[in-house]
Symmetry: C2
Subunit: 241 residues, 2 copies
Amino acid sequence: MPVSRLYKLYLSPHRKYVKVLKNLLGFVPGNLLLYRLAFRHKSVAQNVKKGVKNSNERLEFLGDAVLGSVVAEVLFKLYPYEDEGFLTELRSKIVNRQNLNQLARKLGFEQLIEYDARMLGPSRQGSLLGDAFEALVGAVYLDKGYNFTRDFLINQIIKPHIDIHMLEQTETNFKSKLIEWCQRHGKDISFDVVENEVGESLKLFTVQASIEGQTLGLGKEFSKKNAEKLAAEKACEALGI
Amino acid sequence: MPVSRLYKLYLSPHRKYVKVLKNLLGFVPGNLLLYRLAFRHKSVAQNVKKGVKNSNERLEFLGDAVLGSVVAEVLFKLYPYEDEGFLTELRSKIVNRQNLNQLARKLGFEQLIEYDARMLGPSRQGSLLGDAFEALVGAVYLDKGYNFTRDFLINQIIKPHIDIHMLEQTETNFKSKLIEWCQRHGKDISFDVVENEVGESLKLFTVQASIEGQTLGLGKEFSKKNAEKLAAEKACEALGI
């Protein structure tokens, strides 16, 4: 064992934190400050300069990108005969907030996240964990580089904790999600094919999803079904469901 | 010069293509098939299996993710005191389709892309170049790995061709974009603060952007201005503008 690892694990004043992280992540972290930052929610962050807070949000931005790239490569290689639409959809099932929250809970992040519950509504608390997971990916990337992060994500996270083939089967069907929401709230919903803009291909379908006559999403695709799907997805986004 | 490079540049039957790529990219490519694939638009692609075409779309999916990750790191380090909202916005200005199209044109990609103009509407031709640029990033990644791709993007693409500080100044202002669109189409627009959902923080603002009374976008943020911005962005998305 190299001296620096020995020191970190057994002698350093931060050895307890190092051990917790090692148990959680499977490796000895280098720069501890990065990991502390990854677990600090903005509700307990302090201003460091010009209104910028030492919260995990910047790391979350970086980690989200690195995670997206690693998952893209995994899926690209796992499904050599699927098109980019399939890959995009499957990736978003893997990295969506709900899935990352569950993952972070399973990994035991709750014991590490610093936050102030009084500053959060009940609906916001759920995303703390997923946000911290992304921030952690950013911290690992800055601490250890891309290849290490990639191997960490594949071997410690994706293989043991994510059942990609199961996620492949579960459909995130925005159209039925929207229809269910409307039934629950007693609202009328319609999907209508509308005219294309001047100059657009005749093969293109433009569909609008409307609730009580109000257009909430517009989708343009080369099949009517996919245009409806896209319109439904945008409407779900607009409604925040 | 290693023998394999000598062979590729001077003896291989593909030496002409290798030289073109070397001039364009600044390095000698390894697996030529990947690069040919990156420049093949779906309009000239053939079915290889189960309806999957040998077009650049899968590589585009991968390259888009890798590019996003590299640009995220560049901005994270270039702007240590800006928050994740700033970083996200600036990144989307760099990697948006229009910017990537211009970049690919400047790099001379037009001579390399294979496509069938008859299969494309006039509005679709523009994005060919940007799509191929992303696919190329995917090809470089598979051919040479992340660190090489990162250095290639930073030194050959971003530093010489992208003026980040200039892009920082140009504002993508969704609110004014939406207002202009409404003026052009003679439609009324309004931004209204609406009630939060039960349990949400009192500090949170919910704003809806409505056109002719139809809600097209909903934004929730901790300042009214940012909530309006988000609502406008979603409305722009819903309208496809």
